[in-house]
């Protein structure tokens, strides 16, 4: 569902999204350059967290300069959560990457998140002049968790 929303946002560029259960991807296929990797963690399932942690090890270090993001789903249904929200926050912090929360079942949340993902993708692919993936990363990081003195 998220994929369709993203596709509808991008009208000018061709956009490929590849869904994979885990990394590494099989190496025998010819695929276009990867601009952005989003790790989706389902907060209802510890298994998905373990999977993501395993897959992270197969990602080349250069991707962590702005081309990796985390998407946590299921935070809305607190009673079903097996993974604490702070665990993903800590994970995103460890890998210095942005974290988004989304509930794909809820219509109102999907579209803004899709828009945001597409924007991130455009920047990571170099389609936005003047902003690079690394710029975006430092912008996102400085707005997270300011201390009281910064206000």
């Amino acid at each position: 569902m998220l994929k369709e929303d993203c596709a509808s946002e991008l009208k000018v560029f061709s956009f490929f999204s590849h869904l994979a259960r885990s990394l590494p991807l099989p190496s025998n296929m010819n695929r276009p350059r990867i601009d952005l990797i989003m790790f989706v963690v389902n907060l209802h399932s510890k298994y998905s967290l373990r999977n993501v942690e395993e897959s992270l090890r197969h990602v080349d270090a250069t991707f962590f300069l702005g081309k990796v993001g985390f998407l946590a789903t299921g935070a809305g249904r607190e009673s079903h959560c097996s993974v604490h929200r702070s665990t993903v926050v800590r994970l995103a912090r460890t890998y210095r990457s942005p974290l988004l929360f989304c509930d794909p079942e809820v219509d109102g949340f999907r579209v803004p998140v899709a828009q945001r993902l597409v924007r991130m993708l455009q920047i990571c692919a170099g389609h936005v002049p003047g902003v690079s993936a690394l710029n975006l990363l430092s912008l996102l990081r400085s707005s997270e968790n300011p201390t009281l003195e910064d206000l």
């Binding site: 399932s45 510890k46 809305g76 097996s82 989304c102």
Partner: protein, 344 residues
Amino acid sequence: MDSYDTRGSTPRHSASSRLKDYFIGATPLQKRLESVRKQTSFIPTPPRRKIPQCSRLQEDNDPQKVAFLLHKQWTLYSLTPLYKFSYTNLKEYSRLLSAFIAAEKQKGLAVEVGEDFNIKVTFSTLLGMKGTQRDSEAFLVQILSKSQLPSENREHKVLWTGWFCCIFGDSLLETVSEDFTCVPLFLANGAETNTAIVGTWFQKTFDCYFSPLAINAFNLSWMAAMWTACKMDQYMAATEFLWSVPCSPQSLDISYAIHPEDAKALWDSVHKTPGEVTQEEVDLFMDCLYSHFHRHFKIHLSATRLVRVSTSVASAHTDGKIKCLWNCPDGMEFKKDLEEKRRW
């Protein structure tokens, strides 16, 4: 408990800078904002919990009163602070609540022939059911039926029991003003209709709000670990877990029972620091169970949802139902957990 970030901290930025302009002193509201902001600027999970040493529970409590709390299934509710509640007016409250219940029952839909409307309500304090001295005293409400028998044999049958308590509610207490009594945890046993009537009365009289407390899988696994950690001389029941597999059209339930001594042995091998339980230990404990199950059945339990945990000490269900089987000082720790979780 219901709010979560979708956009990082951008909306919070502008709101908090506006609030800062109004900071002229520390009123309770501002203290509350401070504590909320403190919580959200750090990662809030306490990764370790101290197991309280034989707390004051043992000193003050009346074993008879506490004993009746065991072996009953309690439904949990979370409660906002009570306004102008006084422990000296308990008799008055009993009277008012009896009258309210009688009135409610009489305007009910069906009046059964022979139904006893002689309902008596008692309010009493439960000494010793608290974590620290600052916590509010726990109190008990019971609905009893007055029997029609002659006065020598007058035995009151307990129809419904509910009790309110506050355990280790420090962070809540510091932000609440004098007029409020903080008893955030409410446990009810008995008919749903009675719970609803008592709830309505409390809400009208003390301007508070009840909401059902659900226990999520994360907290259930903590409870499982902490109850397994309790030292017991004799085990009454096996340690059981129940998982719900989300699949259509009907969900599947997986139940896993372990001999309690094996569970304790597993916990002992995982547990390192005495007097403390850490997140890593709980995760490791559960992971051992998951991997054992996977080895035999090739099912990843970590992809399912933990719904029920049952040990010799106590059992808990995700719908907010708990049952205490053994009065152990460590067992009260989980009540503290419930209160903390309530506040996420």
